[in-house]
Subunit: 388 residues, 2 copies
């Protein structure tokens, strides 16, 4: 019913505190993606942008500006927002349009710039992504909401703060190997436990940073990819999901319904199970999120992920490497770009561009990205294409 | 290649200065659309939201909140932004997903709330929709940019300020008949000419107001519509277009390239020409915009629209009624909702809900909505479906 869609090019800026304008940041990633695809901008038929707080850098309506700067001002575009899940939700929309045959080649680019507003203003802005009437408006910021989830998880499954810390340690271990990562610094469990409390039981090193950055991909039909003669990655599954917007509306806060639904849809589409996945980029805005994610995605039984992480199962050489890029925790979290950045990592892994953090013999990868406390989520599955 | 898509339900809040929260405004339109479609929320499979400045009312990531309030928190959604063209660009995306067979029934809802920020802050926020590096950042607000276009048009085509005023007079004449309109007040050419200068040659009554409001539609497959036994409208054409983001990048500022491209694509898809259109809702953020629009859409030869408007050709009983709803000028312009509101007007016209402003014997309608100074645009064509 739908056509095969491929990722033909990918590029990211460094994630971190960037001084360029949001458009300059976006352009840098766009140009890298276009170059890596071996195409010219003229081959792009539509632009899909993901961004949440363009207002913070005084630029919304970004697609026309980006297209104009690429010299293709006649090419239509749009911006998609789904809080911290914007990148993957936008990627899915770009994918769907190519799959339906509306376009042969599109640019899918995520970008965010917030660090110049400072931590307090960024936290305030981000709280607008929650169900503000029930959550943000009553002082519940995301660290607080995830702290509730962490407490519930720890109580239900006898997990400890040390278990959570292992997620951060592992992701920093990977991030050190990623030249584009925001926080390239090895940390220990002790560092995490001794870092300042943000919202108990979460401490500073349980939290991902506020980051600026952009990531871009070129999506195209299989025909287009084959004709290019370039390396590419095939998209074999795509799913979206949703949860009650406010955490208080959920029956069980040790699981995220949108992740479960999105993963189920993506696995079904690809005819795969969690056991078929060789590595995954997942949404670890807080350490507890990664623990919950990898259970919801089916990699570990409910309540078992914390111990699996401690045992090294999710390390680069473990049974299911999670966040080889360093994840949101170390690579960084420019919220509009994050979901696209995960696809960039898959592209880099499958086309020999991941250097020392390459996952050995990987052929199938999963990306998982959600918005807010998981009110929205999307999961994508990718297959390495051998070009002999 | 693609399936037929229909509009089965539609609803709008009153446009104007509203005191409810942005979510309450959205919910009101959503419920009206759902009721008019004769469906229950459970039949909705996805939510497409359009909005630009949710930040101004402290709520982005609106789809999950709206879906949760509708009691369908498991239904995925997203927000699409394309400045003042957000509504139509979002509508096209919802349309494309149903046309591709991904969904049978979706909610397409636009909403905006800005009036509480005041005129100065609204003007500042809106300037972020321009190419801020070249335009907004140098003090060029939208009244100023459209004033340049007006001056160029008037010089090239020997049009007068009085000609422009006729657009406002006609749209207010229609808006008086629309109970949902923001400014329901009959005005004269003299009123317009004597109103305070905003950016010469544009005066206050050449400009549409800042409005709050929401408009919603239910889109579905033809099968779904037929089975419902309810009145519906068929979407027969859809096109998008883009222009250089900054006005200074355009060769001729008396035409908007995105409109021309979007219209061409929509006409081609429907196999129709401008002569087949019985009425149109077009983007009249300023009077000059409507003049340019109706030439770019092919209703009048270049340079002839101003005189045609003066001669009454675009009045409710004219040869091609333009903006029977009152348009942005009188009905109002809640920027995220505007493009959807145009579709609501078509639905109302074609299903006997337009009262005194009903266009006689109309069977084919066009909607046209753009972002900023026309950097992005979408055009849709609709056919009245007789249910005998």
């Amino acid at each position: 019913m739908t056509n095969k869609v491929c990722v033909l090019g990918a590029g990211s800026t460094k994630y971190g505190k960037l001084n360029e304008s949001i458009i300059e940041i976006a352009m840098s990633a766009a140009k890298d993606a276009i170059e890596s695809a071996g195409i010219t901008p003229k081959e792009i038929q539509a632009g899909y942008i993901s961004n949440v707080f363009g207002v913070a850098d005084k630029q919304v309506h970004m697609a026309p500006v980006i297209m104009s700067n690429l010299g293709i001002s006649h090419v239509p575009g749009l911006t998609i927002e789904s809080a911290c899940g914007s990148g993957s939700v936008m990627f899915r929309e770009a994918y769907a349009n190519v799959a339906a045959g509306f376009y042969d080649c599109v640019l899918a680019l995520g970008v965010e710039k917030v660090t110049h507003t400072g931590t307090t203003q960024s936290t305030t802005l981000f709280s607008y992504c929650s169900d503000f009437f029930y959550e943000g408006g009553n002082g519940a910021s995301f660290p607080g909401l995830f702290a509730s989830m962490a407490r519930a998880y720890m109580t239900t499954h006898k997990a400890t703060e040390e278990d959570l810390a292992h997620v951060a340690v592992k992701n920093h271990e990977n991030g050190v190997l990623n030249p584009k990562a925001h926080v390239r610094k090895k940390i220990t469990v002790d560092d995490v436990l001794k870092s300042p409390v943000v919202a108990s039981p979460l401490k500073l090193l349980d939290c991902c940073p506020f980051s600026d950055g952009a990531s871009a991909t070129i999506l195209c039909s299989e025909d287009f990819a084959k004709k290019s003669g370039r390396p590419y990655v095939e998209i074999i599954g795509s799913g979206r999901g949703a949860s009650p917007a406010a955490v208080q509306g959920r029956e069980d806060i040790t699981t995220i319904p949108s992740t479960v639904a999105a993963a189920r849809a993506a696995y079904k589409m690809a005819g795969l199970t969690p056991k078929d996945i060789d590595f995954a980029e997942v949404h670890d805005c807080f350490t507890i999120a990664e623990i919950i994610d990898i259970e919801d995605l089916g990699f570990f039984p409910k309540g078992k992920a914390a111990h699996a992480v401690r045992d090294g199962a999710t390390r680069l050489n473990g049974e299911i490497p999670i966040n080889p890029s360093g994840g949101l925790k170390s690579k960084g979290h420019p919220i509009g770009a994050t979901g696209v950045g995960q696809v960039v990592e898959v592209f880099d892994q499958f086309t020999g561009r991941a250097g020392e953090r390459t996952v050995k013999d990987a052929e199938i990868a999963l990306t998982h990205n959600f918005g807010a406390t998981g009110a929205s989520a999307a999961v994508h599955l990718f297959r390495k294409v051998d070009r002999k």
